[in-house]
């Protein structure tokens, strides 16, 4: 497979993730979509590392994976708090910061 294929797949995944973030009402669905976007970026990093020189990209992938774990933990904690307070996790109804 060529580098173009990897980048295309990654771009495709990123768009799916973005679409999910913008359209899902369910907070967990949004988190899953965010994971898709992050992993699209990871695929890019790994592909560039493979076709380019050095292991910089692979090191960065490890970093982002660790970061994503932390992000998911915080995100799920927020979702839990939201559920406790509102008995649902529909983000379009949680608009308390409306100006």
């Amino acid at each position: 497979m060529t580098l173009d294929a990897y980048v295309l797949i990654a771009g495709f995944m990123f768009c799916i993730g973005l679409y999910g973030v913008l359209t899902r009402r369910n907070a967990i669905g949004i988190l899953v979509s965010v994971e898709l976007m992050v992993n699209a970026a990871n695929i890019n990093l790994a592909a560039f590392a493979h076709f380019g020189r050095g292991i910089d990209g692979q090191v960065l992938v490890l970093f982002t994976t660790a970061l994503t774990v932390a992000e998911v933990v915080v995100g799920l904690a927020l979702v839990l708090l939201l559920f406790r307070r509102r008995k649902d996790i529909l983000v379009d109804l949680a608009n308390g910061l409306k100006g």
């Binding site: 949680a94 910061l97 100006g99």
Partner: protein, 599 residues
């Protein structure tokens, strides 16, 4: 010590006394000890003023000028002291009268509670500082500071009996009217600064006419010239020594002093001077008319003060600065004497009304005698102090061909002699009233200042040529036709007063034929004209208030309204929906990408 050091001493020792009494509440509330602190401060200030003059006029001729930078706006905004003949003599007059008044107050306010007495003397010390700030001012900016400070102290002292509604009202009225006039001072200062970049009274500028006109407007308020005289009679609500110091001898003369000080500016404005001559002449006549029908001894003296200030302003309007300044000095002595003498009579009978007095000369020969000395000095009888200065003013006005003001002054001279005779006859001679039966002389603390001032009222007139030399003018007394006529008119006034109110009438005034005149003066001049003057002031105030409310406040309110409405519109962008924000981010990326590619 140099004149500058002595002047600083005279300036700051009273301030020290005021701060000490102001900050140390327990000391202030002790009453008499607090009073002694204040009197000591005044004595030091007086000693400083005497020492400056005793040092000879060699040091005063060039004038000691000592200034410090004040605001960061530059050298124009300096404060300091300027000691020359004019300010040194004025400093002596102010500190001398203030010392006399403070010592007199020890006896006069003996029955006041200690806390009130302490408050009174705190204000007295503050007044001395404020007045000296004005007198020693090196430029018009500091003069303005002193000007406003004496206005404040005047308000505080008129309202000394603040539990009395009429006193509180009079204090507010005095503050309003003088503050209204002070607008003129401020406008004048701003104009002067805009044109010359400084606040010097020696400035040569094409706008001198406007600046001096504005300054004269402030003088009309402070020195009680028609139509802004309306606050002065009400100011008599204050204790009598306050009336003597502030509202007769020194503070009201500050306006005259300002014109003397700013002589170089006024010399460039013949138009302003002409207006001054007419306003002063009218005030002299108008106030003298009203004084004739007053029944309250302090009101007689208050209108008399208005009238005499009118004399000074007319003299300055005629361009003879020295005549105005000389009359300011002699008037300070004999009018303070009259007020303190009246205070002594009031103290004895516990009433301001002339009808409650009568026959007091027998009971109080000393107070009666000094009051008569003050009265003849005011009436312009030779060789008392008022004779010389009034003579000089009439001569100066005649010399400059200002015949209408001259006629007004001549009639006022007659009326002055007349109403003083009337007052003396009604208060000191004739049948004693019930209250006057038990009158007795005051103590030594009140007699001493009366004696000093009486001496000055007799001899001050002879110091004319010395004072002229000190302030750089030429003056030697010589007999002139107009001066002699003025004196004759004064003696005629005394004779008329004697005829109408003298022993032949048993103290009862002649009513025949004079009643309509009294009614005209009382209702026509006093009530109607004063109401019109007050109404005019309120109307101008209303216009300024309208501009403030709808133009200045309007701009502020309008800009606030713009922000409010704009904010209300823009808050719609904050939907609170997290996905809308992500949309904005995504859109931002697209725009940035497009910009990056198409750039």
């Amino acid at each position: 010590m140099t004149p500058s050091t002595l002047a600083l001493l005279s300036l700051f020792v009273p301030l020290g006394a005021a701060v000490l009494l102001g900050l140390l509440g327990p000391l202030r509330r002790t009453g008499r000890p607090a009073a002694f602190v204040s009197v000591a401060g005044a004595l030091v200030a007086l000693a400083g003023a005497v020492a400056i003059l005793a040092g000879g006029d060699a040091a005063l001729k060039p004038g000691a000028h000592l200034v410090w930078g004040w605001l960061s706006a530059g050298p124009a905004t300096a404060v300091g002291i300027h000691v020359d003949g004019t300010s040194a003599w004025m400093l002596l007059v102010v500190t001398l009268v203030a010392t006399c008044v403070q010592i007199y107050s020890l006896g006069y306010l003996h029955d006041e509670p200690p806390a009130a007495l302490g408050r009174y003397f705190t204000y007295q010390s503050l007044f001395l500082f404020a007045m000296n700030t004005l007198v020693l001012a090196p430029n018009l900016l500091q003069a303005f500071l002193g000007w406003e400070l004496v206005g404040l102290v005047s308000y505080l002292l008129i309202g000394f009996y603040f539990r009395k509604p009429s006193a509180a009202k009079a204090a507010v009225k005095a503050f309003w009217v003088t503050k209204f006039a002070d607008l003129g001072f401020l406008i004048g200062l701003v104009t002067l600064y805009a044109k010359t970049g400084a606040f010097e009274w020696t400035a040569v500028t094409p706008v001198a006419g406007f600046v001096t006109l504005m300054l004269f407007f402030a003088v009309m308020g402070k020195s009680a010239q028609f139509p802004l005289h309306i606050w002065l009679p009400d100011a008599m609500e204050g204790p009598t020594p306050v009336s003597a110091l502030l509202h007769a001898a020194t503070m009201v003369a500050a306006g005259v002093f300002l014109i003397v000080r700013a002589e170089p500016l006024f010399a460039q404005a013949p138009m302003t001077r002409e207006i001054m001559a007419y306003v002063g002449g009218f005030t002299a006549l108008f106030a003298a008319c009203i004084a004739v029908v007053q029944t309250d001894i302090k009101k007689v003296l208050a209108y008399s003060t208005c009238s005499q200030l009118g004399y000074m302003v007319t003299a300055l309007g005629a361009g003879d600065t020295f005549a105005g300044y000389f009359h300011l000095s002699t008037h300070a002595f004999f009018k303070a004497l009259l007020f303190l003498g009246a205070g002594s009579l009031i103290h004895a009978v516990h009433s301001n009304e002339l009808k409650d007095m009568g026959g007091l000369f027998k009971k109080m020969p000393f107070s009666g005698a000094v009051f008569i000395i003050g009265a003849v000095a005011l009436a312009g009888v030779p060789p008392f102090a008022g004779f010389f200065s009034k003579d000089l003013i009439l001569e100066a006005v005649e010399h400059h061909h200002l015949y209408v003001p001259l006629a007004a002054l001549a009639i006022a001279a007659f009326l002055t002699a007349f109403y003083m005779t009337r007052t003396v006859m009604m208060a000191l001679f004739g049948a004693p009233s019930h209250a006057a039966e038990h009158a007795h002389e005051p103590g030594i603390d009140m007699k001493l200042p009366l004696g000093v001032l009486a001496l000055l009222a007799i001899v001050a007139g002879f110091g004319g040529s010395w004072l002229a030399g000190l302030t750089g003018h030429e003056y030697a007394f010589h007999f002139t036709l107009v001066g002699g006529a003025g004196t004759a008119i004064g003696l005629l006034g005394i004779a008329t007063g004697f005829w109408m109110f003298g022993p032949a009438q048993g103290g009862a005034p002649i009513k025949r034929g004079m009643a309509p005149v009294g009614v005209f003066i009382r209702y026509g001049l006093m009530d109607r004209l004063s109401t019109v003057a007050y109404g005019l002031m309120l109307a101008v105030g209303a216009i300024i208030a309208w501009i403030d409310r709808y133009v200045i406040d309007g701009v502020m309110n309008w800009s606030g309204w713009i922000l409010l409405v704009g904010g209300r519109r823009l808050r719609g962008l904050q939907t609170g929906n997290v996905q809308d924000y992500v949309y904005a981010v995504a859109l931002g990326i697209v725009v940035l990408g497009a910009w990056g590619i198409l750039r």
